[in-house]
């Protein structure tokens, strides 16, 4: 089962009741599979075949407000088209859960993976989980529903998976029993905002400056609460399904003096490279960020406080910023540590370019060199896999 199939399976297990999805590469198989489930009767849901992603999210908002579990999935420019309504879903505190298949944003057009689409939505007030493989896609979606719907949280959630590297890469996925999932995820019970003729309220009206700040504060508090809730839910998930998850996953970090921070499918490749380098005597490790919103600064600080040299691999460009968005947040999380670790940023894997073992190894070599004092660390993110002729790739004949 690939990541897309795992996402559809998770939504079926979550017994979603309204599905509104619009096809986009590489998300389309999710939209197709959910349509199949509804057609064959294995999922009792209303499938709304929408005409855009903007409508997909709008339908989900309307449906969720009536008290049903709504879901959708998207990718790239589709997510960007949703941007406006993502804020409505989160501002109205609707626990909509969405699968996001990470794909680059235009322009340039690209069908392939990077994280710029979901990173552009990192402040949209949604929870964000990043899955490394199809099993995590399924598991994080189930966890996301529980966390999102918790009355202490009430936030929508995105579960992000790398386009093709996870979405289209088959792997063995353990699919839990419906009964167990039902006990983990009871029917949706809306307690906050809803649309009910028998108990009417007017949702999402104009809010004056005297209240707006407070509503944003409530939203911020929800993210703080989410830390507690995510921990509880992951604990219960382990009890029922025997798979343990946390905000971050550390791989051979305990004795490491060089650690690379990763997100999504690159984490696996990084672990592989760690094993290769360890065989050669280097004490290296990987820290994978699972939950990006809320950002687990404390967990990252605790896990890395003993590590002198840290690298962060961003699969997005962070245009105009000092470095990639993950690097900025990790650097911030580690600042103030005594002694202060060196935190080097890398940008790579854009527009479907593979973060292949040799690219990750290059990043590790760079960090090892910094550790050994062979090179100085440069502030900001280093573009790890850019061609030397970057500025000359479109040459035209000029009459001189």
């Amino acid at each position: 089962m690939d990541g897309n199939a795992a996402a559809a399976e998770a939504m079926r297990l979550a017994r979603v009741q309204v599905i509104s999805a619009y096809p986009i590469t590489p998300q389309s198989p999710i939209a197709e599979k959910l349509a199949d489930f509804v057609a064959e009767g294995s999922l009792k849901a209303k499938y709304v075949r929408v005409e855009s992603e903007h409508t997909a999210m709008s339908v989900a908002i309307g449906a969720q407000l009536t008290g049903v579990r709504a879901c959708t999935a998207t990718s790239s420019v589709g997510l960007a088209l949703m941007h406006e309504v993502l804020g409505v879903a989160s501002g109205c505190r609707l626990p909509i859960v969405m699968a996001v298949v990470n794909r680059s944003l235009a322009s340039p057009w690209s069908l392939w993976c990077d994280h710029q689409d979901s990173m552009a939505e990192r402040d949209s007030g949604w929870l964000q989980f990043y899955a490394e493989d199809p099993q995590e896609v399924l598991d994080y979606l189930l966890i996301a529903y529980r966390v999102a719907e918790d009355p202490r949280v009430l936030l929508p959630a995105m579960v992000c998976m790398d386009g093709f590297f996870v979405s289209h890469t088959p792997a063995v996925v353990l699919v839990p029993e419906q009964e167990t999932v039902d006990s983990f995820l009871p029917p949706y019970n809306p307690a906050n905002l809803y649309l009910d003729p028998d108990d009417p309220m007017f949702v999402n009206d104009l809010t004056p400056p005297s209240d707006y700040t407070e509503m944003r504060y409530q939203h911020k508090v929800a993210f703080e609460e989410a830390f507690k809730v995510i921990t509880e839910v992951q604990e219960e998930f382990f009890r029922l399904f025997r798979r343990r998850y946390s905000f971050i996953e550390t791989y051979k970090c305990d004795d490491a003096d060089v650690v690379l921070v990763t997100l999504g499918s690159m984490s696996g490749t990084a672990k592989y490279v760690v094993n290769e380098l360890r065989a050669k005597g280097y004490k290296v490790g990987v820290l994978k960020i699972v939950v990006f919103r809320p950002f687990p600064a404390d967990q990252i600080r605790n896990a890395l406080k003993h590590v002198p040299v840290i690298g962060v691999m961003d699969r997005s460009a962070g245009l105009g910023a000092e470095g990639g968005p993950v690097w900025i947040e990790v650097s911030r999380a580690l600042s103030g540590l005594e002694p202060m670790p060196k935190v080097a940023g890398f940008v790579g894997g854009l527009g479907g370019r593979d973060l292949a073992p040799h690219v990750i190894e290059k990043a590790f070599r760079n960090l090892i060199d910094i550790k050994e004092g062979k090179i100085e660390m440069r502030q900001g993110s280093k573009w790890i896999d850019v061609r030397e002729d970057a500025m000359k790739i479109r040459e035209v004949k000029v009459n001189v």
Partner: protein, 98 residues
Amino acid sequence: MRPSESFPKVKYLYGPVATIFASTKTGSWRILRPVIQQEKCTRCGTCAKHCPLDVIEVDRGNKEKEVVIDFEYCKGCGICANVCPRKCIEMVPERGVK
């Protein structure tokens, strides 16, 4: 099951929502005030039907009962005077009229 039966009551709602049914006292906007000639009026109800604020009370066909306007809300737009088939509503300046 009605949705409301499944909704547990909570004391505080989070996010933008209005839970109070209220009104603006638009009567203070009025510059012109409709004055009805009750004797001439047939109680046809045309004014009430077209009042954007729905603040004209007419007991249709009942000449005994006076037509009443709620001046707490009446903005004085003059639509009632304009639509009256018998032209028995007059718009007079608000000030100087009791």
